[in-house]
């Protein structure tokens, strides 16, 4: 029994940042990298299934990205993942989330997992489409925004509780293998133990390139993508007023503004 967990190393912004000269992205010097928060929950869900299972369950994490992605993969290994795979070729640069789904599908075809978890979305690009794209390329069933899961390894069915608008939940029975996109709060992700982190530092990370997957340069990268970034910029800010004066004056002005908005003046 094998669970494949797709993870992404996401970029977060420093307070003050600069946009690259080509205006397509933020200057990399101003980006801080970490494991996508949703993926932390996906991994935890896989680990919980592994630890509760009577039979052997292998948890394999996979990520598409350059060398720096190894840091996030090692974090997953430190938390107990059995294997880590990094997929990268320079031709993959500029791939959109749909194309990343295609690459991950090629990995899944080789790994033959019984279940695939991905985060609902990544905190940097927020497309919420990689997991769905992956299921589409595999032609597997999927359930999105999964906030609860009842699944026994080896079973051909799982019941996923999906989070809907307005605080509603929906229980969905889904045939396995399937792709589930996992929502925050489904579990409480663990901290990696210090020993786990040190051991993970020495563990090998399998590296897979385009040719290993049977894909060609035409299948990946910016040219193969359905969406391309044309410009990244900071939109003009809306109106804001700094309330000056003594603290009492500021409080009085604020109360006046609130009353005005409430139609009490």
């Amino acid at each position: 029994m094998k669970i494949l967990v797709a993870v992404k190393e996401v970029a977060s912004l420093d307070d003050d940042f600069e946009i690259r000269d080509d205006q397509l992205d933020v200057d990399e010097d101003f980006l801080l990298y970490d494991l996508n928060e949703w993926d932390d929950y996906s991994l935890e869900e896989a680990m919980n299934i592994k630890e509760a299972a009577d039979s052997d369950v292998e948890v394999v994490v996979v990520s598409v990205g350059p060398d720096r992605v190894e840091e996030s993969l090692r974090k997953c290994l430190a938390k107990g993942a059995d294997r880590a795979i990094r997929v990268w070729s320079d031709e993959m640069e500029g791939s959109d989330s749909i194309t990343v789904g295609r690459i991950l599908a090629a990995v899944a075809e080789q790994e033959k997992p019984d279940m695939i978890f991905a985060g609902v979305q990544s905190s940097d690009d927020a497309n919420a489409s990689t997991g769905i794209s992956l299921s589409s390329y595999l032609n597997w069933p999927h359930a999105a925004v999964v906030a609860g899961l009842d699944y026994t390894p080896g079973s051909n069915k799982a019941v996923a509780t999906r989070e809907l608008e307005g605080g509603m939940a929906q229980d969905v029975e889904i045939s396995c293998p399937a792709v589930l996109t996992i929502q925050l709060g489904i579990n409480t992700p663990r901290y990696a133990s210090l020993r786990g982190i040190k051991q993970a530092a020495a563990k090998p990370i399998e590296e897979i390139s385009l040719s290993d997957l049977g894909l060609s340069a035409e299948d990946v990268g910016a040219d193969a993508s359905f969406a391309q970034v044309r410009r990244m910029y900071i939109p003009e800010k809306g109106m804001a007023t700094m309330i000056e004066g003594t603290p009492a004056e500021q409080a009085a002005k604020l109360a006046e503004i609130i009353k005005e908005y409430r139609g009490e003046l």
Binding site: D14, E71, A201, A248
Partner: protein
Amino acid sequence: MSLLMKMQTQLNDSIPGSAAELISVALDSGDIYSAAAVYGLADFHDKKLLAELLTAKRRDVLKLARWQHTPAEVLALFADVEDEAVRLRIDKNPATQTQTLSNLYRDEADISFITLIAKHANTSAEVLWQILHSSTATDLVRAVVKNPNTDAETLALVAEKFADQFDAELASHPATSADLLMRLYARGNEFVQAAVVAHKECPATLFTLAAKQESSLILRHLATNLHIDKRLTSRLALDKNYSVRRAAASHKNLPAWVLEQLVRDDSEYVRRVVAAREDLTAEMMNCLIADTDHWVRQWVALNSKLSDSQLYSLSQDEHKEVRRAVARNPKTNSALLSQLANDQEVWVRAAVANQPNTPASTLIILADMDDIDVLGGVAYNPKTPQKVLQRLSYSISADVRRAVILNNMAIRQTLLPLLDDPYYLNRMMLIQSRALSADDKWTLYDDPDPAVRFSLFTWFSRQYQQ
């Protein structure tokens, strides 16, 4: 090769015997956080090597220039880097020291950067004076006037140069002179006058003038001034407006006969402030114990002059916050604490667990409960037996384990397993522990978390500096 692997490969576990060895370890590791921690300790030659490491990558410089723990000497080093983005971070970093800010100002032409320097808490009065002379831009002048380091002379100049434009800020500034406050009161609006009469330097002549005003805003601020006399405090404490009475109710000058009236004040807001006073008589406290407002009862329940019977009476209160206040009261006896340890509300039991007077026998019972707040209190309590602390050091909750680390009575054997704590903040806190030896702490030299490595190398730097 990752930094962690590099450190594990290159270093051994033996503790550095000198400052030079510590610096050498930091240099060999290639770790910018260890290097930043030892930079202040290094001699000229090593400083040069450390500087090369710290400034090798722009990305690292940006990261450290923004980090609030970066030592001031490292920020001073970065101030020489010709990079606007780095300068912006140093101007904003609260750890940047006075001399660095002074140097940055000397070479600065951009008004937005000068405004950041004017806002910085470490900018000297001298630089602020120079800034004021360099520009009349409103934001910049406001930043100077709001900076607590600005001196009376500079503030007087602002009042003279800009008419009443910054009177509100001037009236609130702690360095504003009595003379200027007089002028501000004379020309200011109600808000400025209110700020003036609350000022610690406000001249007594203004108290008399302000007391004649009808404005409850001015009277309320006047009532908060610690320098007003007993007669004025009493008058304000009996004012028709409850907000003025509330402001006066906490004044240290309040005579007992006024306090007796305020205990029965119509406004619960006034009674709450009265209930928080320590100088209440037994009669006053009895009156407040019977108050209909639970906040009043909660405040009085914390009073250290309550008798055993009064505390017992409050411990039977229907409101959990009142019972919790009894559990927090330093005078509550062990018998009553043991009784409150069985309270149905977790919040009350947690207060008992945190209370230093709770007997060990009660703490042992509380240690078997499931609630994290209760277990955290037991883990932090100095009376908790060592065996219980040892058990709690393996709690699944990082908060409970951290409470053991923060317990001053936790011995070395209890703390040692926590050096492997999965939560980085807990490992970082162990570095300050007096129970662990330097050898114990050095096991964290290759910790995967940069904040832990920085704290460790900083701790060792301080040992060698002594």
